[in-house]
Assembly symmetry: C2
C-alpha cells in the first residue's frame, strides 16, 4: 500500500478517517494523495502476506485456505474445456451479465435448495458475490453484522464498501443468534448479516438448525439481509449440514462456489436470492466485469452433463479431506490433549484452536523457522483479536505431514 496522506475531503466528509485535505492549486507533490479514502484505509490480506513465509522449502503449511491440488479433476477439466471450445464461438464471445443460461441451469442442479436458473447469477467466484452484495446494500457507515472471528477476505470486502462491522461471537454451533437478538433489541439496525453457515472459516463450526430458523426470523423482523456464504457445505464428512437459511425468503441471499468442489482457478461462483436483490447485483456486475469468463462457464456446463461423475467426485473429495481432518484431529489430541481445545469440524478445511498463554501472532515466525505455518487467530478478529488462537488447515498436507506439523507446533508452543 502507498503511504497514507491527506485526502480529498471537500465533498466527502471523511470524518471517519479524521483527515483534511489541501490540494495545491497546480500539481501534486505525491500522486498517491489522489487515492480515495477507502483505498487509503485498505490494507492487504495478512493471510496472503503470511503465505509468502509458508511456502519456504521444508515448511509444512497449515496456513493456506486453498484446496488440495490432488482433488482437482484434471482429466475431466481438459475434456470439459475441449467440449466447451468445440461447441462454437459462444464459448469465448461476450455473454450475458447474469450468466449463460446453460451454465445457470447446470448450477441450479448443483444447488441443494430448490432454485430456478432465473434466480441465479453467475459470479467471478463467491468473493465477487460478496463484493457485489456489499456494493448494492452498503452505504458508507452502514452497520453490518459479521462473526467474531470471521473470514478475513469478507471482512476486507465489507470494509472496502464502508461497512461498520458489528462482531457477534461464534461458538461451536456457529453465530450466537441469541447475542444478535439482544443487540437488535437494543437498537442495532444492520443492512446485512454475513454468515458462513457450514464448516465456518476459520472456526469450522456449523450453524445449528435452530439458529438458522432464528436468524431468518430476525432478518424478517428487523429488516436486514442474511448473506449466507456457503463454499464448504458439500464437503461434509460425517453427515450433510442442515438446509439453507430461510429458503425462499426475500431477506436471504446465498453465495456458492465451485472453488472447493471443482477448482478455484476457474473463478466461478453463483448467487441465489430474491429478485429485488439480484436485479441490483446484475447492474453492479455489469460495471464490475461485464460477465464471468465464458470459458469457465462452458467448463462448468460441460462437467454438469455427467451427474454421476459429479457425485463420485464429491465422494472422493470428501474421503480425501475426511482422512486429513481425522489425521489432524488425532495428532492434536495425542500431542496436546486438553491443552488445545477445539470443536471437531464436520466438514470443510479448518480446525480452530487456542493455546493459553501462547501468542500465536508474535510467534508465527518462530513457528515457520521450526517448519510449520498457521494463520494467527488475530487475523480473523474484528473487535478484540484472540492472540492465542490459530487456524489450522488440513486441506493440503498428507496425514503424515499433519502429524509432523503438530509435533513441530508442539515444540514451538512449549518452547
Amino acid at each position: 500500500m502507498p503511504s497514507s496522506g491527506p485526502v480529498e475531503a471537500k465533498r466527502s466528509p471523511g470524518e471517519r478517517l479524521g483527515r483534511c485535505y489541501r490540494r495545491p492549486v497546480t500539481g501534486t507533490a505525491d500522486p498517491a494523495l489522489l487515492l480515495s479514502r477507502r483505498a487509503q484505509g485498505a490494507t492487504s490480506s495478512t493471510i496472503r502476506d503470511i503465505l509468502v513465509h509458508a511456502s519456504a522449502p521444508g515448511v509444512i503449511s497449515l496456513a493456506g485456505g486453498i484446496p488440495a491440488p490432488s482433488s482437482f479433476p484434471m482429466a475431466e477439466l481438459r475434456a470439459a474445456a475441449l467440449a466447451a471450445l468445440e461447441g462454437g464461438t459462444d464459448a469465448v464471445q461476450y455473454g450475458r451479465t447474469d450468466g449463460d443460461p446453460a451454465c445457470r441451469a447446470a448450477l441450479a442442479g448443483w444447488t441443494d435448495a430448490q432454485v430456478e436458473p432465473e434466480d441465479l447469477v453467475v459470479t467471478t467466484g463467491s468473493q465477487q458475490g460478496l463484493d457485489l452484495v456489499s456494493r448494492v446494500l452498503v452505504d458508507d457507515g452502514d452497520p453490518v453484522v459479521v462473526g467474531d472471528p470471521d473470514y478475513l477476505g469478507s471482512l476486507q470486502a465489507l470494509r472496502s464498501h464502508g461497512a461498520q462491522l458489528t462482531a457477534i461471537p461464534v461458538d461451536g454451533d456457529g453465530l450466537r443468534t441469541d447475542v444478535l437478538a439482544e443487540r437488535l433489541a437494543a437498537g442495532l439496525r444492520p443492512k446485512l448479516a454475513y454468515v458462513v453457515t457450514n464448516f465456518h472459516n476459520p472456526t469450522g463450526a456449523t450453524l445449528s438448525t435452530e439458529r438458522r430458523v432464528h436468524l431468518a426470523e430476525l432478518a424478517e423482523r428487523y429488516g436486514f439481509v442474511v448473506v449466507e456464504d456457503d463454499p464448504y457445505g458439500e464437503l461434509w464428512f460425517d453427515a450433510p449440514p442442515p438446509g439453507p437459511v430461510g429458503p425462499g425468503s426475500e431477506h436471504v441471499v446465498r453465495l456458492r462456489s465451485v472453488s472447493k468442489t471443482v477448482a478455484p482457478g476457474l473463478r466461478l461462483g453463483w448467487m441465489a436470492g430474491p429478485r429485488w436483490l439480484l436485479d441490483a447485483v446484475i447492474v453492479a456486475k455489469q460495471s464490475s466485469d461485464l460477465h464471468t469468463s465464458s470459458l469457465s462457464q462452458g467448463v462448468v456446463t460441460a462437467l454438469a452433463q455427467d451427474p454421476a461423475w459429479r457425485a463420485a467426485h464429491l465422494d472422493r473429495s470428501r474421503a480425501l479431506y475426511r482422512e486429513r481432518r481425522d489425521g489432524l484431529v488425532d495428532a492434536l489430541h495425542q500431542t496436546f490433549g486438553d491443552a488445545a481445545p477445539f470443536t471437531v469440524p464436520g466438514g470443510g478445511m479448518f480446525v480452530w484452536t487456542r493455546f493459553e498463554g501462547f501468542d500465536a501472532t508474535a510467534r508465527l515466525l518462530d513457528a515457520v523457522a521450526a517448519g510449520v505455518a498457521y494463520v494467527p487467530g488475530s487475523a480473523f478478529g474484528v473487535d478484540a483479536p484472540d492472540h492465542s488462537a490459530m487456524r489450522l488447515s488440513f486441506a493440503t498436507a498428507s496425514v503424515d505431514e499433519l502429524h509432523e506439523a503438530v509435533r513441530r507446533l508442539h515444540a514451538v508452543v512449549t518452547a
Copy 2:
C-alpha cells in the same frame, strides 16, 4: 432494477439524491428499501436493452460492440487450453491477485510501450480495470473528466463510484484538450480523466499526438490521473496509432484487453501504470474477485509462446475489419453523400454519424422493424445527448450485409 424508494441517510448524507429515510422499528415492508444509494441510482445499460431487439431474426445489427466471431482463433484456443491444463494443477488453483508471473510476462510482450511484467496487473477484462481504478481514486462527488460522447460502460462504472462527470467534447482528433485546459484553468480539479485514445468508442476518433502530449502535461500540472483505455489500438487499418499517453508518467494508467484481439469471453485484460496506483488496485482487486481466472491466464500464456502466430492473427483481424470498415464507409457515402457526415475511423469497430432532423433515439424501433439496428448517440451522451447521432458497428456484419443495412437505414431516415 427495483423501483427506487427512500434510502438510508443517517450516516450517508444522500443530499445528491435528495431523499430521506425512515426505517420502521421492526420490519421492512419492501426489502428493496435496503439498497444502497448508488444501487438505487444505477440503471442497466441501454445498449444491452437494445441488443434484445437487435437480435430479432432478419435484423442486421450494427448495434453491438462485440468482435466478429470469425476472428476468434478457435483451434489455437483449444490447443492453448489443453497446454494450460496439461501444465499441472496451477492452471486451476488459486493464484496471485496481480496475476500469474508467466501471464504478466506474456502480456508485457504484447504491450507496445516498454513495460516490465512487475508493472502490470492482470484484470478480469479492461472493464474491471476501469472499475478498480475508479474504486481506488474516486470518492463520492469527486469530479471526473470523460469525453462527450463516451463509452457507456465506462460512464456507468465511474458513476457507480460516485463520480461527478464533466464531459469534454470529442472531435475528429479525439478529446478536445484545449477545452479541458480551459476548464482546468477555470478551477476544475478532477481526480481522473478517462480517455479511449485509439479508435474511440463511439466516435472512432484517435487522439492526436499533440493532444496526447498536452493531456499528459495537464495531468502533471493539475495533479490528476489519465486513464488511457485502449482496447482497439492494435486493430489499426491504415497506420499504427500514436504511442501511449505520457509513457512512464506517474499520472497515467493504461488499460488493455485481449477482448478485441483474441476473444472477449476469456475476460482478460491488463493494466500498466505507476506503482502507487497498482498497489492500491491490487488490494481492491483482492476484495473484488481475488484474482482473474487462472485458466484464462494459462490460455493467454500459451498463446504468447508463438509470437509469429500472434502477428499473423492480428494481420488477419485487421484485414477482416478493414474490409468491413471500407464496406460501411462506401455504403454510407454512396447512399447518403453529405447527409451523413462522419470521420473515417482508422481502426476499431465504429462509425459515428448523424442525420440532421432525425431522432435516432425515438426511431430506433422503426429501424429495427425495417431490419436494421444501431445504438442511438444519446446512449453515449453525458450532458446534452445528441439525438440525431448514432453509432454504427461494422464488426460483425459482412460487406453485403453492411450495404443492405445502410439501404434499410436510408429508408427509415428518409421516411
